[in-house]
């Protein structure tokens, strides 16, 4: 049996009626006038040097508002949420260190256009050796970050 007391009984949550009927409001549900969408170009390599990024075709696409690469955002510093001692850039234009690391960001009038533009950005990489094994990483035979002394 449900009760309204917080002690000794089951309390039905007051937020649940909205959540179970699809009436809750999450950030993605909020529409803002003139809203734009961002999409990211991400590394397909676990470890690679970024040699060049060609955004010209994407820039010319209808609905594309802006394209950012590392040099455009460098002045903003590294990612604010730091989990490691090594600063992580907002966008990486140098050496990517995991699959999915962002190298460019597109802002467009809608998400489909943004995604199309991502597909029209050409990044040239020089793949580097990747360490995919914890034990191997612990030997430090290859440093993930040159600025550190050890991977551990």
């Amino acid at each position: 049996m449900s009760t309204t007391s917080a002690l000794g009984g089951v309390v039905r949550r007051r937020e649940d009626p909205a959540l179970i009927q699809g009436k809750a409001r999450y950030v993605d549900d909020i529409k803002v006038r003139g809203e734009t969408s961002a999409a990211f170009v991400r590394s397909p390599f676990a470890h690679a040097k970024v040699l060049s990024i060609d955004t010209s075709e994407a820039e010319a696409m209808d609905g594309v508002i802006a394209i950012f690469t590392a040099s455009d955002v460098e002045h903003m510093g590294p990612l604010a949420a730091q989990v490691a001692i090594v600063p992580r850039p907002l966008l990486n234009g140098d050496v990517v260190r995991h699959v999915g690391e962002a190298v460019a960001m597109v802002v467009a009038t809608d998400r489909y256009v943004a995604q199309d533009a991502v597909d029209a950005i050409f990044v040239e990489y020089e793949p580097l050796e990747a360490i995919v094994d914890l034990k191997d990483a612990a030997t430090d035979r290859l440093l993930v970050h040159d600025s550190t002394e050890s991977n551990t």
Binding site: R13, D16, A18, G22, A24
Partner: protein
């Protein structure tokens, strides 16, 4: 492209790009934001709706594929009342943040419409296409068992946390 379908009992038409996903038609054109997007790739089930009574993941369908179809979203499942599954989730703490919940409820309602006496294993199987990152599945299964009992006209089992004195 023009697409016409029925959504929650209402006839709607919308002009969409041929590649528009059904979930985006629902959320963006029709403002039915109760249907969520978790992965956009068919894994999480947050986008589950009913198409002609059967649960489908609306991120894996094009809006134009729903031409002429009858779609029910979480908003239209019980039209202001609570469906037994919705009640079950509330009563048995089947949710925390609620993000996966509309999809879970639509999958569960679809399953119970076919079988109102599922075993625990059948319930788990029925929601295996839905991922929840916070509640854990235990209470979700209990919530669906509660709903099944209600739909059969039985008294739902006492909650596990009810301590008899």
């Amino acid at each position: 492209m023009e697409v016409s379908l029925t959504v929650n009992g209402r006839n709607v038409s919308s002009d969409v790009e041929p590649r528009t996903l059904l979930v985006h038609l629902l959320r963006e054109d029709l403002d039915l934001t109760g249907t969520h997007v978790g992965c956009e790739s068919g894994y999480c089930g947050a986008c589950t709706v009913h198409l002609d009574g059967k649960p489908v993941k609306s991120c894996t369908m094009l809006a134009v594929q729903a031409e002429g179809a009858d779609i029910t979203t979480i908003e239209g499942l019980a039209n202001g009342e609570l469906h037994a599954v919705q009640e079950g989730f509330w009563e048995r703490h089947g949710l925390q943040c609620g993000y996966c919940t509309p999809g879970m409820i639509m999958s569960a309602a679809g399953m119970l419409a076919e079988n109102d006496s599922p075993s625990e294993g059948e319930i788990k199987h029925g929601i295996e296409g839905n991922l929840c990152r916070c509640t854990g599945y235990h209470n979700i299964v209990k919530a669906i068992e509660y709903a099944a009992a209600k739909m059969r006209g039985d008294e739902p089992a006492e909650p596990e946390w009810e301590v008899s004195s």
